[in-house]
């Protein structure tokens, strides 16, 4: 027996057992990509600017309130740019007091001071803006994860991608449209007072009173499918938001048969605020606004102390259920847009698996037969090595939790080609050595040694390309790169350990070898 035979046999055995162990049972261990099992892949962009903008809005309002508290007269405060506002005082005399107030807003920087005109600008510091942007993405991620969990998807992937993107993969989702609507909804619930004095029709023409905003209530006629939009004028300032919610439940709408409603319950703070609002505004209308659309504007008849409210508005049971989910999970701090979407139905995925399997089995089968015919017993050795190669490849993918995609299957098909090349290189070399007149055993030795150098070079170059592919590619290309890289590593291993081992077993025994079947 040649040197190291036992060691090499042991290594091969360990790898073989580990591979089988990692692969068993295959249905559970191999992750199928969305293109194979069906599902949605979404890349969402978080509009972090909107979050920064709304925080600046809020800071401007707070600033005005702070000045009011100290009795400092304000001519006006106007928002400027994405993250700043300009303060104009009623008189320059309160200049110093105003500066004291401004120093309380530590996340803002004061600039453009003009004492004579009583005017200065406040701009959000860079670091604060970055923090807010980061928060928006992180909270968005958390909120979406909550929603998806409540929606009930098995093994979703929800991760951050880059600075302001969220990658979502939902395997096996049957209704992509509904899932998308659920994930992408900002779900900002606001309670605002209707401005009873304003003329809604005039506002719809563009004359919106200061401090107010125009919103619409959409109603779809069930028979004609026609959409009717009713304008409302409401105060800009939200008295209460969905942030103060504890529960949201679905129930039948008692006033409108066939429609569903969502009953909400406030936190203790929210309950108190809600009670105060209703107490102070009896007789007025309170608008319930979700993502800028008015759902209803019921009249406040009396103080509501229990902290409960109902959202109605032509909901189907699914609509109501999804609305309850998004309300419970909370609003996204900033709106999101879909940058990339790939959704594959389950039937297409099944087709792809079938075709992929045919392709792999077809190319493997053709290679098997060819090797057997051309190299006979050595060809059989190569075929066994090829099987081990595929086994290791799949086991590695299972162990690393890599995902098998359709391009990944193509990568495997290609690996088969490369693995065969390895054997052809070795065999051709052994044949050459035999032709020069070497004895079988030394021909095997020389053939392996010489071919191995070439094999290492060829494998390493292609592995370098696979690594580069992995780093620069996305989605499908990455899947391809993974299976190619792992496949080549496996091919290198089988060439060095396994094929040689089989040759040793067959030809390096005690008996004299007359000829090699190659």
């Amino acid at each position: 027996m040649p040197r190291n035979f036992r060691t090499r046999a042991a290594i091969v055995l360990v790898v073989l057992i580990a591979s089988i162990w990692a692969l068993y049972p295959p249905k559970k261990t191999i992750n199928l990509g969305l293109d194979l099992q069906g599902g949605i892949h979404l890349v969402l962009g978080v509009e972090t600017d909107k979050h920064i903008g709304s925080q600046s809005d809020r800071a401007a309002e707070d600033f005005k309130a702070a000045l009011d508290r100290r009795g400092i007269g304000v001519k006006r405060i106007t928002r400027e740019g994405l993250r700043g506002f300009v303060v104009e005082l009623a008189s320059p005399q309160s200049w110093n007091d105003a500066l004291t107030v401004s120093s309380e807003f530590q996340t803002f920087e004061r600039s453009g001071e003009d004492q004579g005109a009583g005017r200065f600008s406040m701009t959000m510091r860079e670091r604060e803006a970055n923090r807010l942007a980061d928060d928006a993405v992180r909270q968005g991620l958390e909120t979406i994860r909550n929603r998806v969990d409540q929606f009930g998807v098995a093994e979703p992937t929800i991760t951050r991608q880059g600075t302001d993107r969220i990658l979502i993969q939902l395997p096996g989702v049957q209704d992509p449209e509904r899932a998308k609507a659920l994930i992408g909804k900002t779900a900002l619930l606001e309670f605002k007072l209707v401005d009873e004095k304003a003329d809604a029709q005039a506002a719809a023409q563009g004359q919106v009173p200061e401090g107010d905003q125009l919103v619409f209530q959409r109603r779809v006629d069930k028979e004609t499918k026609a959409e009717r939009r009713t304008p409302y004028v409401v105060q800009k300032r939200a008295l209460l938001t969905g942030g103060e919610l504890t529960r949201a439940d679905v129930g039948a709408d008692p006033n409108s048969p066939g429609n569903w409603q969502v009953a909400i319950e406030f936190t203790p703070t929210g309950t108190k605020t809600f009670a105060d609002i209703t107490e102070q505004n009896v007789g007025r209308h309170l608008a319930i606004i979700l993502d800028g659309n008015l759902y209803s504007a019921p009249r406040i008849n009396e103080r509501i102390p229990g902290g409960r409210a109902v959202i109605t508005g032509q909901f189907s049971v699914d609509d109501a259920r999804d609305l309850a989910i998004v309300l419970r999970a909370g609003a996204l701090p900033a709106p999101v847009t879909i940058l990339e979407e790939r959704s594959v139905g389950p039937s297409l995925g099944a087709d792809s698996i079938r075709q992929g399997m045919i392709a792999i089995l077809g190319s493997a089968g053709a290679v098997f037969v060819f090797m057997l015919l051309y190299y006979r017993l050595s060809g059989l050795i190569a075929d066994v090595a090829l099987v081990l190669n595929l086994l290791i490849l799949l086991a590695c993918m299972a162990a690393f939790g890599a995902t098998l995609t359709l391009p990944g299957i193509a990568g495997i098909a290609l690996t088969i080609g490369m693995a065969v090349d390895t054997n052809i290189l070795i065999f051709e070399r052994i044949r050459e050595e035999l032709k020069v007149g070497k004895l079988p055993r030394s021909a095997i030795d020389a053939g392996f040694n010489r071919a191995l150098r070439t094999i290492i070079d060829t494998h390493l170059t292609v592995m370098v390309t696979a690594l580069i592919l992995y780093n620069f590619g996305t989605g499908p290309v990455k899947g391809f790169a993974v299976s190619l890289f792992v496949g080549l590593a496996a091919s290198l291993f089988t060439a060095y350990f396994f094929t040689r081992l089989l040759f040793d077993v067959v030809y390096m025994g005690r008996r004299k070898v007359q000829a090699i079947s190659i």
């Binding site: 297409l348 290679v367 359709l406």
Partner: protein, 319 residues
């Protein structure tokens, strides 16, 4: 023992001048096609919406178009996809719409066309303008960095001449594949990019096998007076049966992918199919041939310099 070649000694390198003409012609045809017809890009790179629909009965393209015209979504492309009941509808990016609306509207429009019957939406893809642009750049980067990686690896393992010649060969292969895609009206998508990179790997693999043999021969006894061109020719011949066998197996694998791998993999397999042929060819006639000509050029310069040094010495003697 079955053998394809028994001690082959074809004069490959000697005929390289003809091969240069062939390569130049093929590349030129590809470039002309790329310049005139261009390359069709998938929505991966252009951005847009793709919807794959399977109908219960074979529809006519006209009926699908009639259905889509109701919603005015711009210039849509309707293609049969591997099966007479299966279609792909592509829409360019439209201002102000997102994937959600577009896919839904397509579905709505199709269901309003009575002659189409029942159908199933099997796949929806949407790539926004930002992502499309990024993917485009990533594709360019992946190819460029792949080439740089190969250049460095070969320059380190062999020499700079070999590295440059191999990269020129690979570049030729990429151009030929792109040209073939343009001629065959195939679409450039992300999987096609993967195939292109595979071909880069495959072509380099082949080149390295030849270089490796040349280096091994030079390390051993080389008959005196054997020119570099002959040495290269010997290496190519010695590795010929391996090259042909391997190329054939990869070729057959690609062929099986192309014919049985389904429509999704068809473009991918097409590139492999073309790439295996050009990759095998370019090993001998571009990578090896260029190294030969480069070496001969350098040797010629060296000889010329030696001669001029001798002449200068003689001249001094005379005066």
């Amino acid at each position: 023992m079955i053998e394809i070649f028994k001690n082959p000694s074809y004069d490959f390198i000697g005929k390289r001048k003809w091969a240069y003409i062939v390569s130049a012609l093929v590349t030129l045809i590809g470039l002309v096609s790329l310049a005139t017809q261009g390359l069709r890009y998938d929505i991966d790179f252009t951005g847009g919406t793709l919807v794959q629909v399977r109908f219960e009965k074979t529809p006519s393209v006209a009926a699908i178009r009639a259905g889509l015209n109701r919603i005015n979504l711009g210039e849509s492309i309707i293609q049969e996809f591997g099966h007479s009941q299966e279609f792909i509808i592509r829409l360019p990016l439209a201002v102000g719409t997102d994937s959600q609306q577009t896919a839904k509207r397509i579905e709505g429009a199709l269901s309003q066309e009575p002659s189409l019957g029942k159908f199933e939406v099997r796949r929806v893809e949407f790539v926004g303008p930002q992502v499309g642009k990024e993917l485009q750049w990533q594709a360019v980067y992946a190819v460029l960095f792949g080439l740089v990686g190969i250049l460095l690896y070969i320059a380190l393992r062999f020499d700079l001449k070999g590295g440059v010649a191999a990269v020129v060969a690979v570049f030729h292969d990429v151009l030929v594949c792109l040209g073939a895609m343009s001629l065959a009206h195939r679409e450039f998508s992300l999987p096609v990019l993967a195939a292109l990179l595979t071909i880069i790997g495959f072509s380099v693999n082949d080149t390295i096998v030849a270089y490796d043999r040349l280096r091994e021969n030079r390390g051993k006894s080389i008959p005196k007076g054997m020119s570099f061109a002959d040495q290269m020719n010997l290496a190519v011949n010695q590795t010929l049966s391996r090259t042909v066998l391997t190329s054939l197996t990869v070729f057959f694998s690609a062929a099986i992918l192309l014919f049985f791998g389904g429509r999704v993999l068809a473009d991918f397999a097409f590139v492999l199919f073309v790439g295996v042929i050009t990759g095998t060819y370019s090993t001998t006639y571009i990578a090896a041939a260029l190294v030969v000509d480069w070496t001969q050029y350098v040797e010629g310069r060296l000889r010329a310099r030696k001669k001029s040094v001798v002449k200068a010495g003689e001249a001094r003697k005379i005066t």
